[in-house]
C-alpha cells in the first residue's frame, strides 16, 4: 500500500518552499521599492523581476489547489481562521500584479499611483504571509474539525512579529537578488542595505526562537526531547547568515542570494521539524487532515505530470533572462 499522504506532504512542503523562495524575492523587490534611490533604479528593479513574478505565483495557486485536494482540513480550518488575513493577502497580490503591468504603460502622474500600489501590495502580501506562519505556530482553536476561534485570533503581538520578520526576510531576499542582477549605483545601494536587513532578520529570528516555546507547549517539548538533531537546523540558518555577511563584505554577487535562500530553507525545515506531524496544530496530524486515498491518488497522476513541466518552464525562463539588467533596457 503506497502512503499517498506522505507523498502529498512532500509535494506540498516542496511547493510552499518554492513559493517562499521565488515569490519572496520579487515581493522583496516591491517592499524595497520606496527606499530605492531614484526612479531609474526603480525601473531597473522592476525589470529584474518582470519576467519571473507571475511564474513565481504559480506555486501559490498550485499549493492551494493541492491542499484542497490532498489535505482539505488544512484548507477548511486555516482559511476561515485567517479570513480577513486571506483577503488582505489576495488584495495585496492582485494590486501588485496589476501594478506591474500598468506602471510601465501609465502616464507620468498615474505612474506614481501604480508604484505605490506595487510597493503597498507587496508589503501587505508579505506581512499577511508572515502572520500565517505565526498563527500556524500558535495553533488554531477547533472542535470536530471545524474552526471555532474568533475573527482576530490570528492578530496577536506574536503573529505581528512573525509578519514583520517575513517582511524583512523577503526584503533581504530582494536586496540580494538585486545585487546579483544589477550593477552600478543600484547594486551599490543594495550592498549597503542588505547588511541592515540581515541584522533585522537575525534580531527577529532570535526573539521568535525564544518566544515560540513560550507560545507553544508542544514545540517546547519537541525542542527539549530531540535536542541534538533539531538544533542543527537553526545552526545551519546561522551559518547561512554568516555566509551572506561574508559574501557581501567580499563583494560577491551571486553568493549572497544563494546563502539567503539557504537561510530560508533551514528556517523552514526548523519550523516543519518543530511541528511534525501536525498540519493543523494543535489537534490534527497529516493523517487526520488527509482526503481519501483514492482522491489523493486520482490527483497525483495530474500533478506528477505537471510539476516537471512547471519546473522545466521555470528553469528555462530563468535561463533566458539570465545576466545583468541595465538601465533603459528590456521591458516597458
Amino acid at each position: 500500500m503506497i502512503d499517498f499522504t506522505m507523498i502529498w506532504a512532500a509535494i506540498i512542503a516542496f511547493g510552499v518552499i518554492m513559493y517562499v523562495l521565488m515569490d519572496g524575492f520579487d515581493l522583496g523587490v516591491g517592499i524595497l521599492y520606496p527606499l530605492a534611490p531614484d526612479e531609474e533604479s526603480r525601473d531597473i528593479m522592476m525589470n529584474t523581476v518582470a519576467p519571473f513574478w507571475d511564474g513565481n505565483e504559480t506555486w501559490l495557486v498550485l499549493g492551494g489547489a493541492g491542499l484542497l485536494g490532498a489535505f482539505p482540513l488544512v484548507y477548511s480550518v486555516l482559511l476561515p481562521a485567517l479570513y480577513l488575513g486571506v483577503f488582505l493577502l489576495l488584495a495585496g497580490l492582485i494590486f501588485r500584479g496589476v501594478a506591474f503591468e500598468f506602471r510601465f504603460k501609465a502616464s507620468r502622474e498615474r505612474k506614481h499611483f501604480w508604484s505605490v500600489a506595487f510597493a503597498g501590495g507587496s508589503a501587505v502580501a508579505a506581512l499577511a504571509q508572515g502572520i500565517v506562519v505565526g498563527s500556524y505556530i500558535q495553533g488554531y482553536q477547533t472542535e470536530n474539525m471545524v474552526y471555532t476561534g474568533g475573527a482576530f485570533d490570528w492578530l496577536t503581538p506574536f503573529t505581528l512579529l512573525t509578519g514583520v520578520g517575513l517582511l524583512i526576510g523577503y526584503a533581504l531576499l530582494g536586496s540580494t537578488w538585486i545585487i546579483m542582477k544589477t550593477e552600478g549605483p543600484v547594486q551599490e545601494w543594495a550592498y549597503r542595505i542588505a547588511p541592515k536587513l540581515l541584522a533585522g532578520v537575525l534580531g527577529i529570528f532570535l526573539i521568535i526562537s525564544f518566544w515560540t516555546p513560550l507560545v507553544d507547549e508542544f514545540v517546547r517539548q519537541r525542542w527539549m526531547d530531540t535536542l541534538s538533531l533539531i538544533w542543527l537546523l537553526p545552526a545551519g540558518a546561522l551559518g547561512c547568515a554568516y555566509l551572506v555577511m561574508r559574501a557581501i563584505r567580499r563583494r560577491d554577487e551571486g553568493i549572497p542570494f544563494v546563502a539567503t535562500m539557504g537561510l530560508f530553507v533551514f528556517t523552514y525545515l526548523g519550523l516543519l521539524a518543530s511541528k511534525w506531524p501536525y498540519v493543523v496544530p494543535p489537534d490534527y496530524t497529516l493523517y487526520d487532515a488527509a482526503s481519501a486515498p483514492e482522491s489523493q491518488a486520482f490527483l497525483l497522476v495530474g500533478v506528477l505530470f505537471v510539476i516537471p513541466v512547471v519546473l522545466a518552464y521555470t528553469a528555462w525562463t530563468y535561463w533566458v533572462f539570465r545576466g545583468k539588467v541595465r538601465a533603459g533596457e528590456g521591458y516597458h
Binding site: A50, P51, W53, D54, G55, E57, T58, L60, L62, G64, A65, L68, G69, A70, P72, L73, Y75, S76, L78, L79, P80, Y83, L84, V86, F87, L90, A91, I94, F95, V98, E101, F102, F104, K105, A106, S107, M145, V146, Y147, G149, A151, S291, A292, E294, S295, F298, L299, G302, F305, V306, V309, V310, Y313, T317, V320, F321, G323, G328, G330, Y331
Partner: protein, 473 residues
C-alpha cells in the same frame, strides 16, 4: 444591523464568479478563433489572416490575464466562506478543481508564451500548434470547472459517510447527468461571445474605414457563426431544460413561474412571482405553450414550485427573470444572425449603416446572457449547495460572522473596481490603437518578459527599447 453570513457569502460568490466567468467565456471562444485564423494563415499564406490573429492575440492576452487574476480569488472562496462544504466534498471537488488549476498552468507554462511572443520567432507550424494547444487547454479547463458545477446540481457517483463525501465511481461523478448539456451550452456560449465581440469590433473598424479588407473577413466569419450557433444554442438550451425538468423540477418550475403541478401550463412572458402568496400576483402568458415545450403535449403535466416546501424553494423572482433575460438576449442574437443573412443576400453586408452601428452595442449582449444564465442555474439550486444533499446553511463557514462577510465583500468590490476599471481602460486602448500596433515581442516593441497581460503590448507613451539579451532568438 445584523447580516446573514449565508446570504452575504452567496452574494460574494455571485459577485466574484460573475466577474470571473465573463473572461473565460470570452477567452475560450477567442482562443479557438485565433487557432482558426492561424490555421487559415498557415494554409493560404494570406497576410490578412496574420493581421487579424496578431490583433486578437493582444486582446486575448489581456482578457486571459484578468481571468487568471479573478480566478485566484475564486479558488480561495470555497475555503474562506464555505469551509464545511469544502471539507465535506473535498474528496471529489478537491481533485476536480485542482485539475482545473493544473490544466490552466500547464497551458500557460507550455504554450501561451509561444502564442503571445513567438510569432516570427518560432517556425509557423510551431506557432499554429501552440495556438491549437491554447484553444484546447481553455476547453479542458472549462471541462473541469463544469464537471464540478454540474455535479453540485446533479450529484452522482458519490455517497456521504459520516458527513464526508466519498467517491464511489469517478466516471459517474465526472460525467454526471447534467454535465453534457451544461458543457455544450457553455461551449456554444463562449463561441457566441467571441463572435459577438469580434463582430462588434470589426464593424466599428469598418465604420472608421480602418483595415477594411481584414475586418470584412472577420465580420463575415462571425456572422456565419452567429447565424448557425444562435439557433443551435436555443435547441441545446431546450435539451438542457428537459434535463433540468428531470433532475431539478423545482428549479424548472421557478424558471416557468409555475406554482401548481398542472396540465396546460402557459408560457409566461411576464409575471410577478410572490413567495408569500405562493403564486403569481400578475401574469401574461401564451396558453399551454410551456406544456408543449416541456412535454410535447398541450395537456402535459408540469411540476409546480409548491412541490417543495417554502423553505426549500429557490428565490423564484430571480430565477424567473434572469431566465427571461437570457432567453430574450438569445432571441436577439438569432435576429442579428438573420439580419446579417438578409444583408449578405442583398450584397450589403459590408456597407456602413445601421447594422454596423448596432453591432458594437451587441458586444455586451453575450456577457449579460452568460451572467443571467449562471444566475438562473445557481440561484435555482437554492437552498442547496449540492442538490438534495447539502444546503447553504450546512456548507457555510461556521466561524464566519455577518460583518466579516460584509467587510470582505466590500473589500473585494473595491479591489475589483480598481483592477477592472484599469483593465477595461487598457482593453479599450488596445482596440482604439487599431490593428497596426506592433506585435508584443517583435523588434519594434522591444523584448518582453512573456507574461499574459503584457501580451497587449505597449500603449500610450511607452517608449520602445532595445531587446533584452537572450530574448526568444
Amino acid at each position: 444591523m445584523e447580516f446573514d453570513p449565508v446570504l452575504i457569502s452567496r452574494l460574494q460568490f455571485a459577485f466574484v464568479v460573475s466577474f470571473h466567468a465573463i473572461f473565460p467565456v470570452f477567452t475560450i471562444g477567442l482562443a479557438s478563433y485565433i487557432a482558426l485564423l492561424e490555421g487559415l494563415h498557415f494554409k493560404t499564406g494570406n497576410p490578412l489572416w496574420a493581421q487579424l490573429s496578431r490583433f486578437w492575440t493582444k486582446v486575448f492576452a489581456v482578457a486571459f490575464g484578468m481571468g487568471v487574476v479573478s480566478g485566484i480569488v475564486m479558488s480561495f472562496q470555497f475555503g474562506t466562506n464555505w469551509s464545511n462544504f469544502a471539507q465535506a466534498s473535498a474528496n471529489f471537488l478537491g481533485p476536480i478543481l485542482s485539475y482545473e488549476v493544473v490544466t490552466a498552468f500547464f497551458l500557460e507554462a507550455a504554450f501561451l508564451g509561444v502564442l503571445l511572443f513567438g510569432r516570427d520567432k518560432v517556425p509557423r507550424g510551431t506557432h499554429l500548434f501552440a495556438a491549437c494547444m491554447v484553444a484546447l487547454g481553455t476547453f479542458v479547463s472549462a471541462f473541469w470547472i463544469l464537471v464540478a458545477n454540474s455535479w453540485m446540481h446533479t450529484p452522482a457517483g458519490a455517497e456521504f459517510r459520516d458527513g464526508i463525501l466519498h467517491v464511489t465511481s469517478w466516471t459517474e461523478a465526472i460525467f454526471n447527468p447534467s454535465f453534457p448539456y451544461r458543457f455544450t451550452h457553455m461551449a456554444v456560449a463562449s463561441f457566441l461571445t467571441g463572435s459577438f465581440v469580434v463582430a462588434g469590433v470589426s464593424a466599428w473598424y469598418l465604420l472608421k474605414g480602418h483595415r477594411v479588407e481584414a475586418n470584412k473577413k472577420a465580420l463575415s466569419m462571425c456572422l456565419w457563426m452567429i447565424l448557425f450557433l444562435a439557433p443551435a444554442q436555443a435547441v441545446i438550451g431546450d435539451f438542457h431544460g428537459l434535463n433540468t425538468l428531470e433532475y431539478q423540477p423545482t428549479k424548472l418550475a421557478a424558471m416557468e413561474g409555475n406554482w401548481e403541478t398542472q396540465s396546460n401550463v402557459p408560457l409566461l412572458l411576464f409575471a410577478l412571482p410572490s413567495k408569500e402568496a405562493q403564486g403569481n400576483l400578475f401574469e401574461v402568458g401564451i396558453p399551454s405553450l410551456a406544456s408543449i415545450i416541456l412535454t410535447h403535449h398541450a395537456d402535459g403535466v408540469v411540476p409546480g414550485i409548491n412541490e417543495a416546501s417554502p423553505a426549500e424553494q429557490p428565490p423564484v423572482s430571480i430565477v424567473f427573470w434572469s431566465f427571461r433575460a437570457m432567453v430574450g438576449i438569445g432571441f436577439l442574437m438569432i435576429a442579428i444572425g438573420l439580419w446579417g443573412l438578409v444583408l449578405r443576400m442583398r450584397r450589403q453586408l459590408y456597407e456602413p449603416g445601421l447594422f454596423h452601428r448596432t453591432l458594437p452595442f451587441m458586444i455586451a449582449a453575450p456577457f449579460i446572457a452568460v451572467v443571467a444564465g449562471w444566475v438562473t442555474t445557481e440561484s435555482g439550486r437554492a437552498p442547496w449547495l449540492v442538490y438534495g444533499m447539502l444546503s447553504f446553511a450546512e456548507g457555510v463557514t461556521p466561524s464566519l460572522s455577518g460583518w466579516m462577510a460584509v467587510v470582505s465583500l466590500i473589500g473585494y468590490m473595491a479591489v475589483y473596481a480598481v483592477v477592472y476599471a484599469a483593465g477595461g481602460y487598457y482593453l479599450w486602448q488596445v482596440v482604439k490603437g487599431g490593428m497596426d500596433g506592433s506585435e508584443p515581442g517583435s523588434d519594434e516593441a522591444g523584448a518582453h518578459p512573456k507574461r499574459p497581460l503584457s501580451g497587449g503590448g505597449p500603449i500610450g507613451d511607452a517608449a520602445p527599447a532595445a531587446p533584452l539579451k537572450g530574448d526568444w532568438t
